[in-house]
């Protein structure tokens, strides 16, 4: 039971690693990036890759619909009670960075209702290259861009490309059709990010989300160590 003089941290400040009952909360990973780059597809693939070994849940932040949540439900990547949609008032970056209250409520409710959880994936609504997640909401963030959005995006940089814990360059299968130079994208990303990792993936090929899933496993091992 809680005593009145303690401000039981976990429900007050949600970056705390412990929940009010003292147990470790789930690792929270954010996925951001421009509209249509493949965030939801990556979330779906991660759920399929990890759901047999981990207890998982997903929070989506759509801009004006529930489409991402409905796609995940339709694809049945997780049971419905493990998927929550947050409404963002026309400003997805506000809901993941400046005022994270609704997202924190969603992750805590998921832990209360379907927990214990190992991992919660938080997908941001598609936004611009400056959208990043607050450290109060997620422990690590993945920025997803694609080769079809222009191969100069890594060169342009911006907070997402430059600082995300993992940069995913998605849809490499489309590179020949849109004339994107993957080697140049890799070199530009390296210049922007120094030692931070970059994964090139195509969800339309056999390897699919394997490299990103492996990165998530490493983060989880570090979190629970």
């Amino acid at each position: 039971m809680h005593l009145d003089h303690t401000h039981d941290g976990a429900s007050a400040v949600s970056a705390d690693a412990r929940r009010p009952d003292g147990s470790r909360r789930a690792l929270r990973i954010g996925l951001g990036g421009p509209v249509g780059s493949g965030k939801t597809a990556t979330v779906a693939a991660l759920c399929r890759a990890l759901r047999d070994e981990l207890s998982l849940a997903v929070v989506t932040n759509d801009i004006y619909t529930r489409e991402d949540a409905e796609f995940l439900l339709r694809e049945a990547v997780l049971p419905p009670e493990r998927i929550t949609a947050v409404e963002t008032g026309a400003c997805p970056h506000t809901a993941i960075r400046d005022d994270i209250s609704a997202n924190l409520e969603a992750v805590e409710d998921l832990e209360d209702e379907v927990g214990p959880l190992d991992l919660i994936l938080v997908e941001s609504g598609g936004d611009n290259l400056t959208a990043t997640f607050s450290k109060g909401l997620v422990d690590a963030q993945i920025f997803v861009i694609d080769v079809a959005g222009g191969d100069d995006i890594p060169r342009k940089g911006g907070p997402g490309v430059t600082t995300a814990d993992l940069l995913v360059v998605n849809k490499t299968d489309l590179a020949p059709y849109v004339g994107s130079d993957l080697a140049r994208m890799a070199a530009d990303a390296k210049a922007q990010r120094a030692e931070l990792p970059v994964v090139f993936q195509s969800l339309r090929t056999e390897a699919g989300v394997t490299a990103v899933a492996e990165w998530v496993r490493e983060r989880l091992a570090a979190w629970t160590a």
Binding site: E87, G89, C91, S101, A102, E105
Partner: protein, 224 residues
């Protein structure tokens, strides 16, 4: 106590979830009742003198130390729309989280334990004002101002209204805000002797009906 705490609490960027709510403006825009600065002003004036007055009085009473559980039932009784009760509790919970991190207080912890899924936002707001060392008038001002600043900001996004026009609306409403905040604080002081029935119960049927319709839309920008 610091009067400047009121500026922190009333700041539209205080991270308590309000940015995702339009205060009924999204439904009113769709229905054509808000289509520019003049009709936004009418809408805000109506909301200020109905829902705004009621929430300001609830906030002031909580700031005075009236039992928050009683105030929460009084808020329920004054909010016919289930969608608005849900929104008020959600915002109350989000404000609670931000406030406990900002102005830690035993009273806030106790309310969070009694209402884990959230008490009505104005009741939480009053208790937060108390935790920040502010008085009933301050709480009333903050709540009354929110009742018009929320719809004004939302309308800028919904109609691409000129932001200077929207801010002009708020400035023109300032004298009426003074009147409402004072009336709310007076009513709250009466509650101390006469009980929660002394709280105002002004209501705006179109806000309630609009909120019910809005909650059922498949595509919307704001949560309420």
């Amino acid at each position: 106590m610091s009067r400047a705490a009121l500026l922190v609490l009333a700041d539209g960027r205080f991270p308590a979830g309000g940015h995702a709510h339009s205060g009924g403006a999204e439904a009113a825009v769709k229905a054509g009742r808000i289509n520019g600065a003049a009709s936004l002003e009418d809408f805000c004036r109506g909301r200020l003198n109905t829902a705004g007055l009621v929430s300001a009085a609830l906030a002031a009473a909580a700031a005075l130390g009236v039992d928050p559980a009683l105030l929460d039932s009084a808020a329920d009784a004054r909010t016919p729309s289930p969608a608005l009760r849900v929104a008020a509790r959600r915002l109350g919970r989000q404000l609670m989280r931000a406030a406990r991190a900002t102005w830690p207080s035993g009273e806030l912890d106790a309310l969070a334990r009694a209402f884990p899924k959230g008490a009505h936002q104005p009741v939480v707001l009053g208790l937060v004002a108390r935790a920040a060392g502010l008085g009933p008038e301050d709480a009333a001002y903050c709540s009354a101002y929110e009742s018009v600043s929320g719809p004004a900001t939302a309308t800028v996004r919904l109609l691409s209204l000129d932001p200077f026009d929207a801010t002009g609306v708020l400035a023109r409403l300032a004298p009426e805000l003074d009147v409402v905040a004072r009336a709310a604080a007076d009513a709250a002081r009466n509650v101390v002797d006469a009980g929660v029935d002394a709280l105002p119960s002004a209501s705006a049927p179109l806000l309630e009906i609009g909120a019910q319709a809005h909650a059922a839309w498949a595509v919307r920008l704001f949560a309420s």
